[in-house]
Amino acid sequence: MAATVGPLPLVKLPAGPSQLTAEQRYWNTFKNQLLIPSPTNYPVTDISYNSDSFAITTGTRIQIYSNRTRKLLKTITRFGDVAHSGHIRKDGRVLVAGDDTGKMQVFDVNSRSILKTWTTHKQPVWVTKFSPTDLTTLLSASDDKTVRLWDLPSNEPTTTFVGHDDYVRCASFMPGTMSNMIVSGSYDSTVRLWDPRTGKNSSVMTFKHAAPVEDVLSLPSGTTMLAAAENTVTVLDLVAARPLHQITNHQKTVTSLSLASGGRRLITGGLEGHVKVFETTGWNVVYSTKYQSPVLSVSAIPATDAPGADDRHLAVGMQSGVLSVRTRQSGAEAAREREREREMAALIAGTIDVHDSKKAKRKRRAESSQKLDMLGEGADVVIAGDSRSRRKKERPWQKDLRHARYSRALDQVLDRQAQDYAPINVLTLLIALRHRSALRDALEGRDEQTVQPVLKWVCGHISDPRYVSVCVEAAIHLIDLYAEYVDSSEDLHQAFQLLHRRVKVESEMAQVACQTGGMLESLTAGTL
């Protein structure tokens, strides 16, 4: 029956168009960009990874980097011509690559020696991949319009799929239990699904596209597939055998597709240099970033092999031969990093003692709270849902406002040294004062010194469209109250002059905006 005292709710300003979403914040945490120029100046055409390393293909080289340190571990250079699709097996022991001469080679990653060479393809081999489930099964796709399946020990392909009418530039195994099936995309604008078990060597499903297919990718479910053809990415439903959706967010050809966040996000890279992240239910762009050169390959490299593992690196290979690796630090790592930086800063500033004592104090407190936790385990009665602790505390200025000490509340909230100083707090208070007809009361009765913070704040925020209404009101009161003392005080004079300048600039800008609006109106009127 008696109302409870609660804190004054903060003013909710209209959300601006550029507010960061959670997704954007997540992708922005991929920091520490490492730009690795290719020693061959060839574009970076392919990125493959396993749990502790990733391999990139650039020109006649394949470079293997450490997943953990991002350092170069190995370089394989034994190619006669430009290499393609250096694919590292998931155990990290062997690597397969094709090249422009049509040769396919399997390397031992440790010794870099050639374990196997196939020369069955006579045209450049663009795709070579290990099966995700079977260690000895590989596929290859070549400009000779064929897709082949290989067994590591044998010399001849186990199956040769014929059906494409043009170069086959992308292929991959289906995921999970469907991994004996293959999907491939070709420059004859088709995506074909192959099943070696039919024994007919012809495709079991064909999707016709409008343009040459640059990349194909299957979602982890295995029932949905993505195909990039020119600047669109088509979402294909394998069960219903029909396209579900077309993603047309890229301006130029989409060259590469990759899954991220455990298969819940799609990353695409295009020739216009954009890398975009899509969510996989409505296929909306959730994040987009631009690279300096056309993007040829993208990959999100997870931290571990476990399904649904966090993304660790975002690797992007570009036409210019530069590989960009951005890395996201996990929580513990980031904390360690911050601590290290702080310590270094303290060392440089010469306040390492203070820093150390603070650290020790924090440690002690953590230990004591841990002890308390241990004690708490044996409690007989646990009081659940203690709502009191959750209630927000009323700030001192809010209490002053409630008790009609308006001037004091304003002083407190304007104190820039205060821990919780925020312009939105000041705005909230000023609007609350307006609601209580108390703005003038709060501004009245100040002297040369105490009026300064108010004037300063008004000057600082009068140009913000969200603050302008209340700033104008406060300024009118200030002028009315203190204009007569301007002559006798230098500070006041300066502050009012600054205010005058700010308002002048704003009004000029408004005038220009009005003129522009008028011009546009006449233009649109002409077109009607």
Partner: protein, 969 residues
């Protein structure tokens, strides 16, 4: 019926469109008909010229299809409809608690509250209404224009705790047994025909116990007579004038006495008088001979209390009064509390010289900003308790002067009563609520609340006895938004403020929504829909009350899931004095805060959750007022019309972030509301329309057709009368209907295929047939036309109109086919809110005394639910007790008997305990603890409780043996 009509109207849509193409043609037709109608009317006019004062207006307003139906003032129709029986209006329920000390019975079982025209008895244990005893209540059958007398004082009888004395403003004094509902009231009239205050004195010894009523009468505010009346059987009461007093002023008359009646204290304006009875016992009226002393207080007195102390044996000049000390406390209109200690002795000392002009010095306590509404001594005399418009109850420790506060009450404190044993306070707040607080914990043990909407002031507020910078309007000047949720037809949602004073002072402010259950007649919740600061200081440094936003419209969506509200706040002109004159208007307009809010209704009593807030839903260069809000009948959608000449349609959509639907805490999909269509109406279309209207305030109303396919929007300045017909799906204005309203537009409703428009005339227009069915001129009532209201009931296909006529209102129920009203009744108060209850065909009217009237069709079975309380609450019929309605009373009367019964069986069980514990259940299954019975009978008030059959089975299950299955376990 509704369905077929809907189809019909949609089938007619192509036809309508066609008509739009050759609009000019149809216009011409309409014009022609108007001319013809005018011709028909003119003959009528001549006949009616004598009793139709506004010939001009009625000339244009005629029934278009019938020659025999002519325009006539609504008042004429009242007599004709008197014989109609199919519709009826209930007796009033609820009301406004008055500024009269509530009575808490000595056993603290019952709380008796005084309302405008009745007294109501509540149980103090569970805050439920036991009975309502109408005293001067008028129902709708009373002769038109009569105003009931208002209760001015209420005292418990000193001789019998079952009786109360009630004084009314017309000078009638009633002697009432509050434990019985139906009775013949014994009453007499005071000599002067007025009664301002009253006390009751016991007279006579133990053998011939009688009591005298002392009434403060005053026919002029400068004069006060204290008259004593002695009740005598079967004849006029003996009367005796005890005191006549004159004092210039315009304030209150107060009268208080000690329990034994030996000491009296009263006040007239700023003069306090004290009466002392020299003899210990008074046998008859003649020996009732008080000695009076009077003196001037430093302020106008607004409240008084006195206490009798006996402990200090003092030497007084008059030996008879040795050992009694009378301490008087008086609250002033300027906030001071004045304590006169041992006033009798001091007066006696002073009285020797007979110079009552000399001021008696008082001890002054000052904390209250405005008038002290109530001040009382605690029972032990160590504390005094005061309250005022700060919404704080203050406890003063007399020895130290220390104050303790009970702050943030929901309204200003009107009355404080200390219970007989001092263990609880009864606090009456001005938001039409009263509660019983335990003095030890300051926690409420009972709470009684009526409808808290704005009401007319019965007496001048105590705060306004001295000149203030603000004034409170005497009347409610605008309709109070109210709505009934379709899924809960028994609940009325009314917009209320933080107490009456906060609501009425300054600009009207009402930021809260009260939901009120009509079946149990209790307040369920009160939820803020707009900004409100009940915990903040509610007055500016200049002494002006702080205005809070006013909710101007509320509406529920058809599925009852959503609530839309519009609130409105503008800064006071006093705050912008430093702005130069020419931009002041603009400055204020730009700072006008208008919000449209969408709320998701919770299940049960959970509060509604804010889903979306739209700042300035209609805006040009500055926020424009929202003129009307309507809920779509089919889907979740609302339409608003604003001062910018736009009709906006609002719909919910799933809240998505990056295309992913946001889910709430329990996994339900979240929604957000946005404008889906903006349709410019008015001649200038959009912004320019405002310019053209110039100074005239734009008026507008909006309504959906019953199938939701069409939106009707009326928009314009004074005297345009245009209604736009908008296709809801395409958002195009398919047709404009002209001349449908004139003057001030009040309401527009659709009752397919009819359109009902209430302005200075009532017009019913057939949209499909494109013709005016009938029109009725509303007699001109200056000043109160804002309160004209219209509600349509789509279930029974009727509509109701409420018209304020001076201090009273008439309510008419119409059939859109027939210009003769089905029912016209007069309500002795102004109706401030009229809503139709969906699902059950009835109308609910709320008047400015917070009373509810329900208008139902007699043959409608579904209407019974909300009408049930109006079956006189079943509280004042002889059958009610038998039917179990007065069960609480029944239980109360039987309380002693019950407790006797309880003792015996319990003892029997104890005796048997020694033998066999196991057998106990079976052998003494018929032992019923009274508590269990009470649980069944007191679970709900009788009118809301389960059926008699259910109760019977519950009781028998208590008495009968347990079933075998459970026994074998």
């Amino acid at each position: 019926m509704a369905g077929t009509k809907g189809q019909k109207s949609s089938a007619d849509k192509p036809k309508k469109r066609k008509r739009e193409i050759n609009d000019a043609d149809s216009k011409a037709k309409r014009h022609r008909r108007d001319v013809k109608a005018n011709g028909a009317a003119s003959s009528q006019e001549r006949e009616k010229a004598s009793n139709a004062p506004d010939n001009e207006a009625s000339g244009t307003l005629v029934a278009a299809n019938g020659d025999e139906m002519a325009s006539r003032p609504l008042g004429d129709l009242a007599n004709k409809a008197a014989s109609e029986t199919s519709w009826r209006i209930s007796k009033p329920m609820g009301g406004r608690m008055l500024d009269i000390d509530p009575i808490l019975t000595d056993d603290e079982q019952y709380l008796i509250l005084a309302y405008n025209t009745s007294i109501q008895v509540y149980t103090a244990t569970d805050s439920l209404l036991v009975r309502r005893i109408p005293i001067t209540t008028l129902d709708s059958s009373a002769s038109q224009g009569s105003k009931p007398a208002i209760i001015t004082a209420m005292r418990l009888s000193k001789r019998s705790s079952e009786m109360v004395w009630v004084a009314c403003s017309d000078g009638r004094i009633y002697y009432i047994n509050w434990t019985r509902s139906k009775q013949s009231l014994w009453s007499f009239q005071t000599k002067s025909g007025t009664a301002k205050a009253m006390v009751v004195l016991p007279i006579g010894g133990p053998k011939k116990a009688q009591e005298a009523v002392l009434v403060a009468e005053s026919d002029k505010s400068v004069r006060l007579d204290v008259m004593a009346y002695l009740r005598a059987k079967g004849q006029k009461p003996q009367a005796k004038n005890l005191l006549s007093l004159k004092k210039h002023g315009n304030a209150l008359q107060l009268l208080e006495s000690t329990n034994d009646g030996r000491f009296l204290v009263g006040a007239l304006n700023d003069r306090i008088f004290v009466g002392v009875l020299p003899s210990e016992s008074v046998e008859n009226l003649d020996s009732l001979q008080h000695e009076f002393y009077s003196f001037d207080a430093p302020d106008l007195i607004t409240s008084l209390d006195l206490k009798m102390g006996t402990h200090m044996p003092a030497k007084t000049p008059n030996g008879k009064k040795a050992g009694t000390i009378i301490d008087v406390v008086a609250g002033g209109a300027r906030g001071g509390i004045y304590v006169y200690q041992d006033i009798v002795a001091r007066l006696l000392a002073l009285g020797k010289s007979k110079s009552d002009k000399e001021l008696i010095q008082a001890q002054k306590f000052h904390w209250h900003r405005k008038a002290v509404h109530s001040v009382k001594w605690s029972r032990d005399g160590n504390y005094m308790i005061s309250g005022g418009s700060e919404n704080v109850m203050v406890t003063w420790q007399m020895d130290t002067g220390k104050r303790e506060y009970l702050p943030h009450l929901s309204g200003s404190v009107e009355n404080i009563v200390v219970s007989a044993n001092g263990s609880s306070y009864v606090v009456h707040l001005d938001d039409n609520s009263a509660m019983i607080l335990s003095t030890s914990e300051m926690k409420p043990t009972a709470y009684v609340s009526g409808i808290q909407s704005a009401t007319v002031s019965v007496s001048p507020p105590k705060d306004l006895l001295v000149k203030r910078v603000w004034t409170a309007p005497e009347h409610v000047r605008r309709p109070i938004p109210a709505a009934v949720r379709p899924t809960e037809p028994s609940r009325l949602h009314v917009c209320v403020g933080n107490g009456r004073q906060a609501t009425m002072t300054g600009d009207f402010s009402a930021p809260l929504l009260q939901s009120f259950d009509l079946e149990t007649f209790t307040s369920i919740t009160k939820q803020p829909l707009a900004r409100t600061q009940p915990t903040d200081v509610n007055i500016t440094s200049k002494g002006v009350p702080i205005d809070e936003p006013l909710i101007t419209h509320v509406a529920f969506s058809a599925d009852g899931k959503w609530l839309a509200s519009v609130d409105n706040w503008k800064p006071s002109e006093r705050d912008v004095v430093s702005v130069t004159n020419d931009v002041r208007d603009q400055f204020l307009r730009e700072r006008h805060e208008i919000h449209l809010k969408f709320w998701e209704m919770g299940t049960g009593d959970q509060p509604a959750a804010l889903v979306s807030r739209v700042n300035a839903p209609h805006a040009t260069t500055h926020p424009e007022a929202v003129l009307d809000l309507a809920a779509g009948p089919a889907s979740s959608c609302f339409a608003t019309i604003g001062g910018d000449g736009m009709v906006r349609v609002w719909r919910p959509r799933l809240r998505k972030i990056n295309g992913i639907v946001s889910k709430g805490a329990d996994g339900q999909e979240l929604h957000t509301w946005g404008c889906s269509q903006a349709i410019p109406v008015g001649d200038g279309m959009g912004e320019k329309a405002v310019v053209e209207l110039g100074s005239a305030q734009p008026q507008g109303a909006v309504a959906f057709s019953e199938d939701g396919s069409t939106i009707f929007a009326a928009y314009g300045g004074i005297d345009t009368g245009v209604v736009y017909v908008i296709d809801a799906s395409s958002g195009e204005v398919v047709k404009t209907l002209e001349g449908l309203w004139s003057g001030q537009l009040h309401s527009l409703e659709s009752l397919s295929p009819f359109l009902v428009v209430l302005s200075d005339e009532l017009r019913v227009y057939d949209v499909v047939g494109d013709e005016l069915r009938y029109g009725i001129t509303i007699p001109e009532i200056p000043g109160v036309s804002e309160l004209m209201q219209l509600a349509v009931d789509r279930q029974s296909r009727h509509f109701a109109v409420a018209l304020p006529v001076k201090e009273v209102s008439s309510i008419g129920v119409f059939d859109p086919e027939e210009p003769e009203p089905l029912l016209v009744r007069s309500v002795p108060h102004r109706v401030v809110s009229l809503v139709a209850s969906p699902e059950t065909s009835c109308f609910v009217a709320l008047d400015d005394c917070a009373q509810i009237w329900i208008i139902t069709e007699e043959s409608e079975p579904s209407a019974l639910a909300p009408a049930q309380p109006l079956e006189d609450l079943r509280l004042d019929g002889p059958t009610t007790v038998a039917a179990g309605t007065g069960m609480a009373a029944l239980m109360g009367e039987d309380a002693e008997m019950g407790s006797d019964d309880e003792g015996e069986p319990a003892a029997a069980v104890d005796a048997d305990d020694d033998d066999d514990d196991v057998d106990m259940d079976d052998t003494y299954a018929s032992v019923v603890v009274p508590q269990q019975l009470a649980d069944i009978f007191d679970a709900a008030p009788a009118f809301a409780g389960p059926s008699v059959e259910d109760m019977f089975y519950k009781v028998t299950s208590l008495l009968s043996a347990k079933p075998l299955v459970s026994a074998s376990e």
